[in-house]
């Protein structure tokens, strides 16, 4: 019966970081027009909430898809250590070239977490503020299912 059901484990993490939305591919005026106040030269910050969903078989011995201690340590090492209390533009190499929108942040975090050995990464959801959030499930990622 349980084969007919799919169980996912969801875990939330928090980090605070600054960013500036700016691309050298556009003029100063165009950057300002597209990104508005998010283009402020000195950047600004958010308290991000990261939601990670993992799927897999529930181990009958433990009742778990994955041990939270392992998942927490993995997310800490792969994401939080490098992102928390940092400047996304300056401190995360991927955002030297890409604009650190929350869309791109979702994709970057997905790539960092998909190698978790004990379970399958289903989805990343990042809440930038209480009013906007973004989700990514690995679509169109090189080497991944479409």
């Amino acid at each position: 019966m349980s084969d007919a059901l799919k169980i996912e484990l969801g875990r939330r993490y928090r980090f605070s970081a600054s960013h500036r939305l700016h691309t050298p591919q556009l003029s100063e005026e165009e950057n300002w027009r597209v990104f508005g106040k998010c283009n402020n030269p000195h950047g600004h910050g958010h308290n991000y909430v990261l939601e990670v969903s993992m799927s897999g078989d529930v181990d009958p011995a433990t009742g778990m898809i994955a041990n939270l201690v392992d998942l927490d340590a993995f997310v800490e090492r792969q994401v939080l250590e490098e992102f928390d209390h940092k400047s996304l533009n300056e401190d995360v190499p991927a955002f030297r070239e890409k604009v650190p929108t929350t869309e791109n942040l979702c994709i970057e975090i997905y790539q960092r977490l998909r190698s978790f050995p004990q379970a399958k990464l289903e989805r990343i959801r990042v809440q930038e503020t209480g009013n906007n959030s973004f989700e990514y499930s690995g679509e169109n990622l090189e080497g991944n299912r479409s």
Binding site: K6, E8, M64
Partner: protein
Amino acid sequence: MVLLTRKIEFAASHIYHNPNLSAEENRRIFGKCNNPHGHGHNYTLEVTVEGEPDPVTGMVLDLKELKEILEGEVMQRMDHRHLNYEVAELAGQIPTCENIARVIWQLLEPKIKQGRLHRVRLYESPDLFADCYRNGAGAAGKS
């Protein structure tokens, strides 16, 4: 298709302990959740039902009816109970979010006659939850 979600809260105690493992292994795997006298949580349950709104009532299902099902199947069984010792459906299982969500799905699914159960999400704390879906259904209802 429209999704309708109802939220309820219940408080319960539990302990993570597998009698087939040694005391040391239990401690290593389950950590403080293995405390012999157990501990408890305020659980939040979100139940999502999918369906087409009835042309006469505009409802996927009557919320009163869903509330009664949740009261009978979940609240009376689990609220202010010890999940290991007082919930027959969890006997022999470690009462993790994953297992409780699955048991709740199995309890609710046959009771919902209007619409169809889409998702059971059980929060043990604001930062930890499990989702149960019908296999093949995606998180956004894609099949």
